[in-house]
Symmetry: C2
Subunit: 411 residues, 2 copies
């Protein structure tokens, strides 16, 4: 199950990036399951990683190699395998992650490795070594769609976004792909996402842009509240176009940053649309909170409530569950002693007001509730009446298929 159209949009090549793929028989007997990105020497690379303390071996190695390579051209390859996360694998897993890098270059620190799939099983590195030459031989600039398919695990569809933005005389192309469907509650970035543009960007600005944009996009989605051990998001600027490197004081910065965030928003939402067993795309919008943290806490409390999620699956306007979830959230204790003025709270589902004055809205009807719950895209707007802070997260419902997928995965 998944929400919205299945088709992958056209993914424009980004000059300075070539992509290869091969079947290493890690995830599946046929079809790509390793992907290699080759970066031209002028590329700047920024990345954010999971904050899960049991982060996977490739996350440790990718972070280490990125830190060594804080100059253009240091990172030359990204290698991704699907089917095995190489997480919870101890010292052997770490050695394997280094070996993955060595399959592409004698200078392993020029390579960032990424793995996704089952946690806790040995990664068959010999299969990756065998398949790497085929991946290198298939290198081409227009392999983005192939890569979008090759990195999937329980996803039902590839995810990509591409757009161009005019900055002065230059047309900058931004293209990205992502994967993820379960274990989705990114704390730093989502499962895996790779975004590249052909502009010239200063390294500090690139990392800043990635941190800010991923906070607003990948870090605002949740399928099941489980933060993966392998989350990573990489942003590459190939530096092919533009004279002066872009940075926040540049006249074109805002247009550029907006375009990058738009691509990342599409990639993040694509993960929710393809969330495990998802039948609804739910936006939880919290307004008038006392603090930004409180807004986010309320949004996540509602988004993670199994009872709210099953009510959406049933398309049942059992809105009391939303009210109960709001009521159990942790409010900022330094504002009004953390206590909620129930009469000031208002909750809407799309255009239908369900709660006001501490109870069911006087104008609410079951027919209106049922009509809105039948829609595929639903925004829950929760006004807390405590201040002026807002936040929102995107999530899914909880269906039989979520349980089925996760009870049967692995076996």
């Amino acid at each position: 199950m998944a929400i919205g159209p299945d088709e992958l949009c056209e993914l424009l090549p980004v000059e300075g990036i070539r992509i290869g793929a091969a079947n290493a028989q890690i995830k599946r007997p046929e079809g790509d399951d390793i992907i290699v990105f080759e970066l031209s020497p002028d590329c700047e690379v920024a990345a954010v990683f999971t904050r899960n303390q049991f982060c996977a071996a490739p996350v440790i190695v990718a972070r280490e190699h990125l830190q060594k390579g804080m100059m253009p051209g240091h990172v030359r390859y990204l290698i991704v395998n699907t089917g095995n996360a190489n997480a919870g694998t101890g010292d052997e897993g770490l050695a394997t992650a280094y070996q993955m890098c060595e399959t592409l270059s004698d200078r392993r620190e020029m390579v960032m490795p990424f793995s996704t799939g089952v946690i806790g099983e040995r990664l068959a590195i010999e299969k990756i070594m065998d398949a790497a030459p085929e991946a290198l031989a298939s290198m081409a600039p227009d392999n983005w769609a192939r890569a979008a398919r090759g990195i999937l695990t329980t996803d039902t569809r590839p995810k990509g976004s591409s757009r161009q933005v005019q900055l002065g005389e230059e047309t900058i192309t931004i293209t990205g792909i992502s994967k993820g469907s379960g274990m989705i509650c990114p704390n730093m970035a989502t499962m895996l996402a790779y975004v590249a543009c052909d502009g010239r960007v200063s390294p500090e600005a690139l990392q800043l842009l990635l941190s800010e944009s991923s906070a607003k996009t990948f870090n605002r989605i949740t399928v099941d509240g489980d933060t993966s051990t392998n989350d990573a998001c990489v942003l590459i600027a190939t530096g092919v176009r533009g004279e002066e490197p872009l940075h926040p004081d540049h006249a074109d910065w805002e247009a550029f940053a907006e375009a990058v965030e738009a691509v990342m928003t599409e990639l993040a939402q694509a993960i929710v649309l393809d969330g495990e067993g998802a039948t609804k795309f739910i936006t939880v919008q919290v307004d008038d909170a006392a603090t930004p943290g409180e807004a986010l806490e309320v949004a996540y409390t509602v988004a993670h409530s199994p009872l709210v999620k099953t009510a959406f699956f049933a398309a049942d306007p059992n809105w009391g569950r939303i009210l109960a979830a709001v009521g159990r959230a942790r409010f900022d204790a330094s504002h009004g002693n953390g206590s909620l003025d129930l009469r000031a709270v208002r909750i809407d589902l799309n255009e239908v007001c369900i709660v006001s004055n501490g109870g069911r809205d006087a104008a609410y009807t079951e027919a209106a509730g049922q009509a809105v719950m039948a829609e595929e895209f639903i925004t829950i707007t929760i006004r807390l009446g405590r201040g002026s802070c807002s936040d929102r997260v995107w999530t899914t419902d909880l269906s039989y298929d979520y349980v089925k997928i996760n009870a049967e995965y692995r076996s």
Copy 2:
């Protein structure tokens, strides 16, 4: 679905308490759905309530009447209805809760009302008024089992516990009942529980005992992480037996408190055993944490993880999900900067060590993992290697039936 035997144990009468029941056609066309407890004039009553800010109207009224009645004999009746929570019902709901009290006594402050069921719908108070005389007419000391059945909602079985403890020459009887199956993550008490003993207990000691015991029992269970708007737990001492009131400095206090806690433990575990869709009873035991709060946080993070819960439902030793859940918990930042020494972490499922030295235990085998996951009662023991604090919660797996029950409830 439910775990363990279905039979209700023998529930001994508690002198000083009589119980009546009737069908008011709120929850079902036949069978009891309102219950009345009549307390003799010497009873001491203590209660704890939900901390959900959207607490139900009867919770507000019960708390108010209990506070007025801090002397023996003030509270004379408890009235409980199932089928409608009278929560999220605003001013009308509050008026209804007061009317529930008035059906039993002209002095409404002598009555504590309790409701459980669907949130956000009007409670048909006229039906309760009509049925109250029948409930009063059926008053008897040995109606505990009938009450245990009459308060159920989505529960599949009644829950009760009864025991006697010898204090000097007196035999004290303690009997309790509870209900709850979903929306279970009590923050103060569970859905509904009523425990009575015929001992003499000082009012302060009774409230202290209830607070401490419910913290260790009802506040340590979770089915789905959703804290109800209607949670309440009442502890009554009828004062029939014993000369001196029991209090913490009394020679018999420890034996008495242990017996009360044992009854409450059975009632709390009975809710988990009957958790919505449950096929496994899982104890999450966290040891060697830096702080008590950290131990509880890790235990809840694991107990609430949908991926951990579905793996238990599948009886699949996909233990990487446990490790991932531990890794995303919030650790106390004042100890080692909140960072986990992965090599010091050890995780066991019953007698099978799954994680040590930062990865899969060297002696672990898939066969051993499968054998332990096939059991109905599983203890996950997580040693953090950060200190000497412990805590544990009891929870269930996440099955198709959980989704089915919650997608179909109401409709």
